[in-house]
Amino acid sequence: MDTYTYTAKDFKSDQDVRWCPGCGDHAVLNSIQKAMAELGISPDNTAVISGIGCSSRFPYYVNTYGMHTIHGRASAIATGVKTANPKLTVWQVTGDGDCLAIGGNHFIHSLRRNIDINIVLFNNEIYGLTKGQYSPTSKRGFVSKSSPYGTVEDPFRPAELTFGARGNFFARTLDVDLKTTQDVLIQAAKHKGTSVVEALVNCVIFNNGTHATISDKEFRLDRTIVLKHGQSMIFGKNNDKGLIIDGFNLKAVTIGENGITEKDILVHDAKCFDRTLHFKLGTMTGDLPVALGVIRDVEAPTYDQAVEDQIKEVQAKRPIRKLEDFLHTLETWEIK
């Protein structure tokens, strides 16, 4: 049994971190290193797989096994790592372009299979490494080098995509909210199955302030809600706002106004199998606060375990373990 107590330092590599000063990725890196220490899984039993993009430089900065792969394919490679050796804790670090544009197919199929990997999706709504083109999460009309007159396409919302692909764990956090980040990363790692943590990060160079309307200290508490399983959906600077169901929709209300009491406020159930409310919570915008924290956390059979189980099941019925023995079960004839 491993009795050593890990600290974040054990997960820092000897490489200099080369993200721009002020980039939101730094904060998430620190949070992941702290989360890894708290999880207490040895760096030798941890694999971090990334694709291409600013955030995908991540594996070089953590002192675990790691592979910085090719654009968009991290989900597929991580699937191979975990299927081959389910004992490993496998993280996938990816960005909005890597994961949702070129890698969209692999992302949704990881979710569908429910392979037990932890996907950390750094969403800065921009292509940073190629110097400032709009990404699949950029808002309609976004002006960038490749959309000088504004984009004419709608963005993906990662929560919606995750649930649409039958994902069973989705959390969201802000780069500036270290506590929530660390907390959701630990829950993501503990979740058995594909977990997606969307980290809203700032790109200080090409998309500065893209999340400012919710991340600025001034109004963060009024415009976001940190969801916690089993707790009332209350938010706001004064903890006096809450969410209720109004017809088929969610509605933000103020406790004490219009006869609303704390009892009327919804209690978050991240473990509910039905995704309907998780969809609603995950896509809140406009008058509703942006949901942070773990929105969905439902246990379901994992792919890697099912692969192992099926082999065991077949082996329990068929005694053959060597190729040569198998070949002799075929239709054969003897030449004497």
Binding site: D44, H68, A76, V81, L330, T332
Partner: protein, 615 residues
Amino acid sequence: MADTAKVTSLEKVVIRFSGDSGDGMQLTGSLFSNLSAISGNEISTFPDYPAEIRAPQGTLGGVSGYQVHIGKNIYTPGDLADILIAMNPAALKVNRKHIKPNAIIIIDADTFDKNGLTKAGYKTEDPIEELGLGAAQIISASITTMVKASLADSEMDNKSILRCKNMFSLGLLCWLFNIPVDNAMHLLKNKFKKKPAILNANMKILVDGFNFGSNTHASVSTYHVDPTETVKGTYTDVKGNQATAWGLIAAAEKSGLPLFLGSYPITPATEILHELSARKDLGVKTVQAEDEIAGVCTAIGASFAGNLAATSTSGPGLALKSEAINLAIMAELPLVVIDVQRGGPSTGLPTKTEQADLLQALYGRNGESPCVVLAASTPANCFDYAFMASKLAVEHMTPAILLTDAFIANGSSAWKIPSMDDYPAIIPPFVHADMQPYWKPYLRNPENGSRYWAIPGTEGFAHRIGGLEKDNTTGAISTDPKNHELMTRLRQTKIDNIANVIPEQEVQGNPDADLLVVGWGGTFGHLYSAVEEMNASGHKVALAHFHYISPLPRNTEEILKKYKKIVVCELNCGQFAGYLRTKVDGITPYKYNKMEGQPFMVQELVDYFKTILDA
């Protein structure tokens, strides 16, 4: 069931089974080839089936064929058939070009009615005359009528009854070739173990077919194909795709590594995925990925995690995998890539054979990206080369691309079940604990230039690799110009060094030949047969048939410079010929190329070789 007809002894014979793709001709053909093998004949088979799963019944597009060559010194499924089984007029028409003028043709007379002839597009009511088959010996049997009558009391529905027609032709062939009908029954009993009603119906029709031949003296002579002296042992009939799958399993056993296949269905490679998915008893893990790219990427992930990892595909899939293969080249991870070549470009001819992916395998990636390329040459030796591809990939930490093709992948030959003791060890270059003080991710074994393998879970060896250029020792990202040049050369040298461990190139045939025939991959049987025929007729011809393509065997230059005339024969526009010229200065080979989606014919090769020798 003694027979009084004359028995003619044959050294070899080519039989072609054909009918609608639902007529069960592939099954009949493979049962017959197994029966011949059991009787001691060598066999080589080739299915020729349409891309359509079920084209309209009775039409030319729906004709499915299966050719089997039995006898002594059998290296190919044969050029033209001596015997054709045509279950309908369309089958007869489509196969007109595949048979000898004096062939024996067995037809189901019931299908040659007005309707059948119209569907197959005949202009007259006499198909034999129309096709110019006057010299052929026609055995016309009302198979449909007889099968219906025979099974009238069977309580089977009409569709199931008609499905037994193929057994009539098998029975008739058993009579024609003096094969004991009991042997066929034995095979059927295994095949339909769990379906007694179908078994009984099939056995009844089998005997009907046999008796029909015997009672009507359907042919003036019956035949006996002489058994050959074969190496003692237990044999099975193996298709190239099966042998490939099993070769990977053999390599996994020999290396002590778990086997992982990441793959996406694609004709004509899918059977490899099927075979390996079925081998959970042997602990094989397979992922049917969401696309070709994910197929290779899951394999790369599994390789990083310490498995013997493979991906199987055909040409279009190899194109999609190229970026990921390059990642494995850069990260220096073992990876086996199997390309069962088909006709290209683009979707091309999915069910037909070609050798046109050679340059794609060698060069179809960005940057300087050398890897191992091998080619299997017969259905059975797909096993050996899948094994060798795995051995080289693992021991040299590199992707190895194994080229097979639709011809050998779907074709079959008799295969002596090997003993694993006869195969060499595979030793993964794992790091070991005492290396820890000085180990770096790109530290190389000075003997072969390969880096060491530290798999996740190994204590004290956590490290990062990836697709960016690396420092030649530490593996840290490096853009240093000198380092990049050094790494480019190190990657090439690692592959070049493999020439030291692979066998020297063999030359078969006449050692003092006037003409050296050069080939590679699945054309071996035809080239070998053509060379034998040339030498038997007094010419002096040799054959150098390549299995190792990158790197080439170390004596390649010596061989190619030794002969006055060289002809490189391949099923493409001359890719191997061009490649050899980049590797061996000053050679100007003749080229024989064919791009019909079909294998060579021995006769066309012989004819061409003669013209070269006369030139």
